[in-house]
Symmetry: C2
Amino acid sequence: MPKTKRDPSESDRTRQVVNHIRELLERGELRPGDKIPPERDLAKALKISRASLRTGIGYLAAMGVLNVRHGVGTFIHDGPAEFSKASLGFMSTLHGFQSWQMFEARRIIESSLAAMAAERSNDEHHVLLAEQVAEMFSIADDPAEFLKHDVQFHRTIAQASGNPILAALIETITSAMYEDRLKTVSRAHYLRKMAEMHRDIYRAIRSRDAAEAQKQMERHLQVAEDEQKSEVPPQRPQHPRSGQKRATTSSPEMPATHSATASAEGAGPESAQEANIPVQ
Amino acid sequence: MPKTKRDPSESDRTRQVVNHIRELLERGELRPGDKIPPERDLAKALKISRASLRTGIGYLAAMGVLNVRHGVGTFIHDGPAEFSKASLGFMSTLHGFQSWQMFEARRIIESSLAAMAAERSNDEHHVLLAEQVAEMFSIADDPAEFLKHDVQFHRTIAQASGNPILAALIETITSAMYEDRLKTVSRAHYLRKMAEMHRDIYRAIRSRDAAEAQKQMERHLQVAEDEQKSEVPPQRPQHPRSGQKRATTSSPEMPATHSATASAEGAGPESAQEANIPVQ
DNA sequence: TGTATGCTAGTGGTCAGACCTTTGAATTCC
DNA sequence: GGAATTCAAAGGTCTGACCACTAGCATACA
């Protein structure tokens, strides 16, 4: 498997910390949810300054391996595998990702996931999926609550697919889309339709019809995309970022079903304040 | 698009730095390849200590946004979008990813990419692809060199697909597999066969036959997988990570090409609490 | 008795400033 | 001209003090 290439951004001390944690992880002495020693202790044990240790911890936290809680401690990340949430956001502003591209990526990966789930899922998965579908039908008035089950439904399929890597990728993408989805999931008739589509997907998986599961999932996501586009059409245009270096200037318009819709991603609520630093 | 959820691992100062950089990026004042001000200057400008600034920089570097070079400076990452190389490696040890799963993920995504490339590529892409194929045929004795063109070929397809997100995902996966591939690409007859398959893929894309491109790509990756498995059969045993949370530890072997092993992980409550681990 | 309040130990967050190491390029010497 | 030297810039590390947040415990109050 991937034997972690040495990333240049890891300096000696940082790498020392990273390797230390990885070893403990590989040796099974540290598992998801576990707490690592206090910074002061660990720094002393590794014979490095607390500052350096913190650099390493920060690195691991950025990658989603560690979970730091002020006043409490630092823990090994526990939960579904996924890349750092912020990373996709940054890649987005850095490379000009667009909304339709996220939907497309999701459609492609998740429809495959559904097909795989149809072949590899077990009864336990079926039960979980059925439960989520049932919940979706019963809750037709609380968008936020509905979305929660929606997410869980898709997450279950990802898990049932037996491929945690693809599951992690889709988890990353969907979590990045979460906020926008919250705004979208609203109208009652829409929720009803969504519930029905999920049910259809569930049925296909349950009956181990991979092709059908894939098809239904694709249809479902296409509808979801169309719905969202119709609800949240206005988007702040992307930076032209006039490419000078063989820029990846993808054509702004794409074929049929997808119409480009640059994403906003405004500086959220809190966001920025002070400082206009003249970056040379 | 992704409204960067507030990541708990970002403390105030760190977030301040991150936001600052993001703003400059969004405002177009910073672009890939650009150098950011020296730490001492930037720290003063942001009115924070250099230590805190470094935390933020480390965070961004871990996410692959910044590229820090000792004695030179810190730059905005330049090059194909991808997630931090190390991240996949960590997720691997953290969630027990397996080799066949990486191949499977690659097969699924990249075959779709090929299909998309067939529909969206332009002449420029075709030229690049043709060049790489030609190089592959001419270089039949230098595995390392061959692999370089191989990588470039696939990267071009990813770019031609018009979906940078999927391109980034595949970039992440392939870079994680790079080392193992270096060991594999060796036998001359194998290189020859590879070159031919790449040529077939190219032809399909060139003739805009999406279905064929997808099929050829899938076949190509399947062959590559089989080849590698036959050469590097010994797999480092995975941690049993005895699932206590309804881990669906199915039998390690599965139908034909895939063997499913459901991942543990439960969306459920945190469960496992503290427990000070004696991390040596 | 039960709840509210306040204190405190533990742990991460920030700061300041000195010193070390690596780079890259200008300078000097042969 | 080319090689060795010098030097300034910029990142890397260290120390140790102090701040801030959490959770749990003890005390006070109703």
